[in-house]
C-alpha cells in the first residue's frame, strides 16, 4: 500500500500484479480461516449444548431454536450484501415493525390476506427505496439516513397501531410458529431462509453483480470508473432489504400471533451482530454467504444456550453486544495489540 503513489515501471507493474495476487490469496485464506473457525464453533456449541442439557438436541428444541432465529437470519441476508457494498441499513427492525403493524391494521379492516401481502411487500419495497434513493441520489451517509428511517418507520408503526394489539389471525397463518414444514422437523421460516440464502449466495458469488458488490465495497471510486452502476445496484440492495424485512415482519406477526407497534424493537443489533460475526467486514468488500449461514448457526446456538440456562432474557443484548464487539475486534487483534504496545512504550503509533 505504501508504494501506491510511486511511479509504476514495467517490472514494478508485474511485481504489483503479483502482490495483488498474493494479497487476494491471503485474503481468501483469511476468510476461509474465519469460516473454519465458525464451523468449529458451531460443532463446539452443539457438543456443549447436548452435554449440558439433555433437551438441547431434541427435535422440539431444534424447532424452537430455528423458529426464534428465523426472522433475524432472513434479514441478515440482504444486510450482508449491503455491508459488503460498503453501506449499512439500521432501519431493518423498524421496517419489520412497520409491516407487522400494517398487516395487523389491514387484517382488522377485513382485507383479504392476499391483498394484504401485496400491500405489505410494496410498502417494504418503498421503505427500502427511500433509504436507497437518499443514500445514492443525494449522497447521504447510509448510517445517518437509516437512523432517520429507523425512527420514522417505527413512528409509522406507532401511528398505525398506537397501543393496540391485534391477534385474530386465521389458523393456517397463526400456526406458522408451531407447525413444521410437512415431512420435516423444521419451521417454515427455516425453509424460507434456506431458499433466500441460496438466492443470495448465487447472486453474490456467481454473478457479475455479485463481483460488482465486492468491488464497490472495496473502492467505490474504482468501481465507478470501471463502469459499475454503483448507485443502481445499491438502490436495488436497499429495496431488496425492505422487501425481505417486510416478509420477516409477516413471519414475526404470525409466529407470535400478535401485531403490536414494538414488534422486533432493537432487532437491528442482532442482524448487524450476525453479519459481522459471519466475518463480513464493516468497511465493506469482504464477506460470504456460507459465512453468514454459519454465523446464524452460532448465533442461534448461543441464544438457545441463554434460553436454556436461566439468564435474564431481557438482558441478552449484553451478550449479543459483546459478540458484536468481539467480531469487529478479533480480525484486527494483532495490529491492535501492536498499537497498544506502541502506546505503552510511548512511541507514536503511526507517523
Amino acid at each position: 500500500m505504501e508504494t501506491d503513489d510511486l511511479p509504476v515501471t514495467g517490472t514494478e507493474a508485474a511485481r504489483s500484479a503479483r502482490r495483488a495476487r498474493t494479497d487476494r490469496a491471503t485474503a481468501w485464506r483469511r476468510a476461509l480461516r474465519w469460516e473454519t473457525g465458525l464451523a468449529v464453533l458451531v460443532v463446539f456449541v452443539a457438543v456443549l449444548g447436548s452435554a449440558t442439557s439433555s433437551e438441547f438436541l431434541t427435535s422440539g428444541n431444534m424447532f424452537n431454536l430455528a423458529v426464534t432465529t428465523g426472522e433475524v437470519a432472513i434479514m441478515a441476508l440482504p444486510m450482508t450484501l449491503i455491508v459488503i457494498s460498503g453501506e449499512i441499513d439500521l432501519s431493518v427492525a423498524s421496517t419489520l415493525g412497520m409491516s407487522s403493524a400494517l398487516l395487523g391494521v389491514l387484517w382488522s379492516d377485513h382485507w383479504p390476506m392476499i391483498a394484504i401481502f401485496v400491500v405489505v411487500a410494496a410498502v417494504g419495497a418503498v421503505a427500502g427505496l427511500v433509504n436507497g434513493l437518499l443514500v445514492t441520489r443525494l449522497g447521504l451517509p447510509s448510517l445517518a439516513v437509516t437512523i432517520g428511517t429507523l425512527a420514522l418507520y417505527r413512528g409509522v408503526a406507532l401511528i398505525l397501531l398506537g397501543a393496540k394489539a391485534i391477534s385474530t389471525f386465521p389458523a393456517p397463518y397463526s400456526t406458522i410458529g408451531i407447525i413444521p414444514v410437512p415431512h420435516t422437523d423444521l419451521p417454515w421460516s427455516t425453509l424460507i431462509f434456506v431458499v433466500l440464502a441460496a438466492v443470495a449466495g448465487v447472486v453474490l458469488h456467481a454473478t457479475p453483480t455479485g463481483r460488482s458488490i465486492y468491488a464497490m465495497g472495496a473502492s467505490p471510486e474504482a468501481a465507478r470508473y470501471a463502469g459499475i452502476r454503483v448507485k443502481r445496484i445499491k438502490t436495488l440492495l436497499f429495496v431488496a432489504s425492505g422487501v425481505t424485512c417486510a416478509l420477516a415482519g409477516v413471519l414475526w406477526t404470525f409466529r407470535l400471533d400478535t401485531a403490536v407497534q414494538n414488534n422486533g424493537l432493537g432487532m437491528e443489533l442482532n442482524v448487524v451482530a450476525v453479519v459481522l460475526l459471519a466475518g463480513v467486514s464493516i468497511f465493506g468488500g469482504k464477506g460470504s454467504i456460507p459465512g453468514v449461514v454459519l454465523g446464524v448457526l452460532v448465533f442461534a446456538g448461543i441464544q438457545n444456550a441463554l434460553l436454556l440456562t436461566n439468564f435474564n432474557q431481557e438482558a441478552t443484548g449484553l451478550v449479543v453486544g459483546g459478540l458484536l464487539l468481539l467480531s469487529v475486534f478479533a480480525p484486527g487483534a494483532g495490529s491492535l495489540a501492536g498499537r497498544i504496545r506502541g502506546k505503552l512504550h510511548g512511541r507514536l503509533s503511526d507517523p
Binding site: 448510517l143 445517518a144 464487539l325
Partner: protein, 350 residues
Amino acid sequence: MKAIITGQPEQVPERVSSSRRLTERVFQIRESGIVVVLAVFVAVTASVQPRFISAINIQFILLNTTVFALLALGETMVVISRNVDLSVGSVLGLSAYLSASLFGHAHGIPIVVVFLAGLGIGLGCGVVNGLMVSIGRVPSLVVTLATLYIFRGADILIVGGNEVIASTLPPGFTGIPRAAAGGLPYLAIVIAAVIGAGAYYLRSFRSGRELYAIGSSPEAARLAGIPVGRRVFTAFAVSGAIAGIAGVLWAAQYQTVDSSAGTGYELQVIAAVVVGGVAIFGGSGSAIGAALGALLLNTISSALYVLGISQFWDQAIAGFLLLLAITLDRAISVRLAAALRSRSARNGNR
C-alpha cells in the same frame, strides 16, 4: 468570530477571510432558521390553543428540554468529530438507577455525592466507548450500537424487577427540577449556562477547534499534527459524563426509575443535534444549535399534546425532521462548496 477574523495579521489574503465570512454567514442563517421555525410554530400553535403559551406549559417544555439539551451538548462534540454516540440513552438509564438508588442504600448521603456518582458512572461508560473507538479504530457506529445494548443489558441485570421509588428520594433532590424564579426553572438557567460554556469552548479553544478539523477531514487533521485519537477519546468521555449527569437529573425529574429509563433517547438526541444544524458528516454545527434543536423537538411534542393529537406521532416526526435536516445540510454544503470554488476560481484568474 468576527473578532478573530479582524484580529488576523494583514498578510492573510482578502480571499480567505471573505470565503470564511461566507461560510460563517451560511451557518448562522442555518441556525437562525431553527429560531424562525420555532417562533412560527409557537405562534401558530398558540393561535389555535392559547393554553400553549401559558406560564405552566412553557415551564413544562423548558424542563423537558433540559435533559435532552444536555445530552445534545455531549452528542454535538462527538458528531462534530465525525463520530456518533448511540449509547447515551443506556448510559442515562444506568446512571439514573445506580445514582438514585444510593439514597436508599446510604441514608442522608449528600446530593452532591450522588451527582458525582452519576458523573463517574457516565464517565466510565464514555471512557469505554472512547478507548474502543480511538485505539481499536472501529467505527463508532458499531462500538456504540454494541454498548447501547451492553449498558442496557447491565442495567437490566442490576435492576432486575426493582425500581427506585419517589419516597426514598429526599425532597431536596426531587425539588431540583421544580425550583423556579418567576416561572423560569433554575435548572433550565444552569443548563443554558453549561451549554453556553460548551459552545464557547468548541468555537474558541484550540482543542475545541481541533474537533471541527478532525470532523472536516480526519486525514488532514492527522497530518496537521492534531492528536486525533486523544481528541476523539475526550469527546466520547465527555459525552458519557454528560449522559451520567443527565441520568441523575432524569431521576430527580421523574422520581421513579426502573431498568427502562432513557430507552430510545439516542434517537431523539441525534435528531435534535442534526435538526439543530450539526452536520452528521462532521466538521460543522454548534452546541447552541443542538440545544435549539432539542427545544424545537420538545416544543413540537408538547404542541401535539396541547392540540389533542396523539403522542404516537412524536417519533415519526422526529425521524422525518432528521431526514429533512440531513437532506437540507447536504444541499447547503453542495451549494456552498460550489460558491467557494467559483469564488476562488475568480480570484485565481485575477
